[in-house]
């Protein structure tokens, strides 16, 4: 069997280089076409009509006026009379017309009568949602009651973290054409080019092979863009009804924010006990969360410090009249990290202990003690902890208070199923094809790096082709599994292709194929540059043939092959200043120390961590889905009041990777999610350290900060 393992760290020429992304110019110059940019001949524009009510029954629906509207090509009722609507934003009907404006006008002409029913859209008070609550059962370990009695110090407190939306800048949607020949041309905005085809085939009840999916670029996903969704299916049906013309249906921003993806909330009543020296002995918690209508959202708490000897956890899922959750960059982990690290720091404050010491002291309760101890120390060094940290509330005179706080993370990130095909042409051209996608993490670039490294070439010599179901299947870009998956499959396919090429040229070089190697643009006898052919000359020996080989990452085998593994830890430390007169929190610095395996491209890897940290800042300070109890609608379904951080709001971000021989040996490990986890906890803890009291409710908006300062319950 060929040896697929990565070349040793010291001898790599392309892997590990800080290279600019290969599609960078295309994107930065505006030439990159996203599927929402497509304009196809004869294309129709579709607009959705959605429910203004959170819970209602459709009494009647009349589309006749819409059908007659000028330019309208097809109208479909999605929720016929009798349908029970379960959230505001539920799809009711959809119209396709020759222009977007005509479709919007026509949609306004659809007449619907609703029987309005009672709704529940707010879950911060568990007592109020009893009928919607589904207890998950108790988890018990040790003897928490006894341990609580024996504890030197205990803490009882409550915390809450709201529902966030994904808010992908490219909205969900697609251009789709269902031709008279039964073939469907599907151009979605998706995180899963390969699997979305099968999913749509099932929903349309047609063979998978009748669907062709193509996507060059995708404008964000963060866990929300795996499925074809109702709007994909409806757009296909509209196309069919309109004689196969392509239909473009992308959600408008309010709809995007209401129904195209959100992260569950998380609430916690907790009681902790510890010894005087800070050793955590007991954890007792009642948590609840809502993932929309289906309930769901169960943060794994206590987080990271899972081995607290005495534990009792009760979790309740609350069903709300809101759209269902989708995976949100590290599902449930951000909530868990906040709901664990905040009480831990509160306990440390009660013990008058430095939380850094307390986290280190309790690192033996984690699955990777050495890693966290090392990382906590490193993050402390990078954040100047020893100099800047002070006991809680001891932030000096004046209205601006500075504080520091800690958050921790853990994640899997082993590579997913992936197959790649590497083709070497007689003119020396190399193509690598995968039915994968580049979410903006640099997938294209790192695939080229792996193939170039394997063939002794440079990145520009490799053509990477992604985003098409004509290429071999590759997994969904979720769970930070893509880079592990595609690098391994690319490595194997390319090694296989190279072996074939070497067999072809072996005769000419007078050595057996296994004595040849590809280095620096040449095929040569191992260690002997004088017996060599240039890459081009070697490929010419193929005559009219091409070499085309595949390779697959098989998750169960990858670790044995040394290609990729999972399992990392990381630490975030935040440094903030809070104006106690206005309640405004300013980020000074966020430090991210991250465990990482083999790093294919430190530049794009770093970008992911910057992005993860910035998402944490948004989540800690401004993001929040605000539901109106009275109307059942989302009050801030726009980007003015659903706030994201801007370039000025983020302070300084410091990233530290543990790139070394030892970590490198673990192979590639996914990175997108872990550094997005600990930031909210770190920022919340830093705010508490600054102002001397906990802001129990995330986000730490001016209102919530002022409420906490004045002892009000928000």
């Amino acid at each position: 069997m060929p040896n697929y393992s990565w070349p040793p760290m010291a001898s790599r020429k392309v892997i590990g280089q800080r290279l600019s992304r290969t599609d960078g110019i295309e994107k930065a110059s505006g030439r990159a076409k996203y599927n929402s940019d497509l304009n196809k001949p004869g294309m129709l524009h579709a607009v959705l009509l959605t429910s203004p009510f959170a819970h209602a029954k459709v009494k009647s629906i009349d589309t006749s006026a819409a059908e007659k509207h000028a330019g309208v090509a097809a109208v479909r009722v999605i929720a016929p009379a009798g349908t029970e609507i379960q959230w505001a934003g539920w799809e009711i009907a959809v119209v396709a017309a020759s222009t977007e404006l005509a479709a919007r006008d026509a949609v306004q002409k659809i007449k619907i009568e609703y029987d309005i029913m009672p709704h529940v859209v707010v879950e911060n008070d568990l007592k109020k949602v009893r009928t919607r609550a589904k207890p998950a059962g108790e988890q018990l370990e040790g003897d928490p009651d006894q341990a609580m009695k024996e504890a030197d110090v205990t803490l009882e407190a409550s915390y809450g973290i709201p529902t966030l939306t994904h808010c992908c800048l490219e909205p969900h949607g697609q251009v789709i054409g269902w031709g008279a020949d039964g073939k469907v041309e599907f151009n979605p905005s998706t995180q899963s080019v390969t699997s979305i085809r099968g999913d749509l085939a099932r929903l349309l009840s047609i063979p998978t092979t009748d669907i062709h999916v193509h996507q060059d670029h995708v404008g964000g996903g963060f866990g929300s863009k795996f499925q074809p969704d109702r709007w994909g299916v409806e757009a296909a049906q509209l196309s069919k009804a309109a004689g196969g013309k392509p239909v473009k249906l992308f959600l408008d921003r309010p709809t995007e924010l209401m129904i195209a993806g959100c992260r569950p909330s998380g609430f916690l009543n907790v009681k902790l006990g510890a010894k005087k020296d800070g050793t955590l002995t007991v954890w007792q918690s009642e948590s609840w969360a809502s993932g929309g209508i289906g309930g769901g959202g169960s943060p794994p708490i206590p987080y990271v410090f899972t081995k607290v000897p005495n534990r009792r956890q009760n979790h309740t899922a609350v069903s709300l009249n809101t759209a269902p959750i989708r995976a949100w960059r590290a599902p449930n982990h951000q909530q868990a990290s906040y709901l664990t690290c905040a009480p831990l720091e509160d306990l440390a404050a009660k013990l008058k202990m430095d939380p850094l010491d307390m986290f280190i002291k309790n690192a033996n309760l984690t699955q990777r003690e050495d890693t966290y101890v090392r990382q906590l120390k490193k993050a402390a060094e990078l954040s100047d902890w020893k100099k800047l940290w002070h006991p809680r509330g001891d932030a000096g005179k004046g209205p601006i208070k500075r504080g520091l706080g800690i958050g921790v993370n853990t994640w899997g990130g082993a590579g997913h199923d992936s197959t790649a095909r590497t083709t070497i042409h007689p003119d020396g051209t190399v193509e690598v094809e995968l039915g994968s996608q580049d979410l903006g993490t640099g997938t294209r670039t790192i695939i080229a790096q792996v193939a170039a490294e394997t063939l002794g070439l440079r990145v520009p010599d490799i053509r990477v082709k992604l985003g098409d179901t004509n290429y071999p299947p590759s997994g969904t870009s979720g769970g930070s599994t893509t880079v592990g998956g595609v690098t391994s499959s690319t490595r194997k396919a390319t090694v296989n292709a190279l072996d074939k090429l070497l067999a072809e040229v072996a005769g000419g070089l007078g050595a057996p194929a296994d004595q040849l190697e590809a280095v620096d643009g040449k095929i040569q006898v191992k260690g002997n540059a004088t017996k060599s052919l240039t890459w081009k000359a070697a490929c010419q020996k193929l005559g009219v043939k091409t070499v085309s080989e595949t390779g697959s990452n098989v998750p169960r085998e990858a670790a044995k092959e040394g290609l990729n593994t999972g399992g990392v830890g990381g630490v975030q430390i935040a440094d903030v200043s809070v104006d106690v007169e206005t309640g405004v929190v300013k980020m000074n610095k966020l430090v991210a120390v991250q465990d990482i395996g083999l790093v294919v491209n430190p530049k794009t890897a770093e970008s992911q961590v910057f992005g993860a940290c910035i998402m944490s800042i948004c989540g800690a300070l401004m993001e929040e889905r605000i539901m109106d109890e009275l109307t059942g609608r989302m009050l801030n379904a726009d980007m003015e009041f659903y706030k994201l951080a801007g370039i000025k709001d983020i302070g300084e971000i410091v990233v530290h990777f543990e790139i070394d021989e030892l970590n490198d040996k673990r192979g590639v490990i996914g990175l997108g999610e872990p550094p997005a986890i600990g930031g909210i906890a770190a920022i919340s803890n830093a705010v508490a350290n600054a102002i001397g009291t906990r802001v129990p409710t995330v986000p730490m908006s001016p209102m919530n900060v002022l409420d906490a300062l004045s002892g009000r319950k928000s």
Binding site: L101, Q108, G220, E606, I647
Partner: protein, 214 residues
């Protein structure tokens, strides 16, 4: 409720000439479409120089070239660019002047194309990213700096950032780090590329002074 959608106001408006700005406000505030006046009403009240309410033929000067389009008066410049002229560098993200993804230059000034009516853009010099990003196969200094500093991930916000950065540097050729943070405050990125953007704008400023600006 917006002025446009409020039936009472709609009645009142019958008496006065309808304004394009009014339409736009209606669209902006509600995110939905304002109901069109009946053609006979509109004709009766149309003062001279007002276009519409039906579609009208216009010519826009885009990237130095005259381009024809047939637009309804309520259509935004952004939608005309994207849907009619297939100029898609400017993206529709918030569609109401918050995110900067649709940034274009109007007479050299950075503007949100989602918040300008196409008919109001007549007679103005409109520059989209396509108009300056590449020349003679070479990327503009801002584009190159964005790539060098990896100031992009999914890239959906990036053209807007590049346009805003170019406009910023045209006005502030020697920016400080603090000025960059203020100057690009009108653009949002969900992937979180701001660290790269800060560095890119500073590097582009240097490149442009060094004469390597394409």
């Amino acid at each position: 409720m917006s002025e446009i959608l409020d039936p009472e106001n709609r009645e009142k408006r019958k008496g006065r000439g309808f304004s394009r700005r009014g339409f736009m406000q209606g669209i902006g505030v509600t995110g939905a479409v304002a109901p069109a006046l009946l053609p006979e009403q509109a004709q009766a009240q149309t003062p001279p120089g007002v276009m519409g309410p039906g579609a009208v033929a216009i010519t826009l000067n885009i990237n130095g070239k005259p381009m024809k389009a047939t637009v309804e008066p309520r259509e935004t410049l952004l939608d005309t660019l994207r849907n009619q002229l297939d100029i898609t560098g400017a993206k529709r993200v918030c569609d109401r002047g918050t995110c900067g993804a649709c940034s274009v230059l109007v007479n050299g000034k950075v503007s949100y194309a989602c918040s300008i009516l196409a008919i109001d853009a007549q007679g103005k010099q409109i520059t989209t990213i396509e108009g300056f990003a590449m020349s003679g196969g070479k990327p503009h200094a801002v584009v190159q700096a964005f790539v060098n500093n990896d100031a992009q991930q999914c890239g959906y916000c990036t053209p807007g950032f590049v346009v805003a950065s170019k406009a910023f540097l045209d006005h502030t050729p020697n920016p400080t780090y603090e000025q960059v943070k203020d100057g690009l405050g009108g653009n949002l990125c969900r992937c979180g590329t701001y660290v790269g953007v800060r560095k890119a704008v500073l590097e582009a400023a240097k490149m442009m002074k060094g004469g390597s600006n394409a």
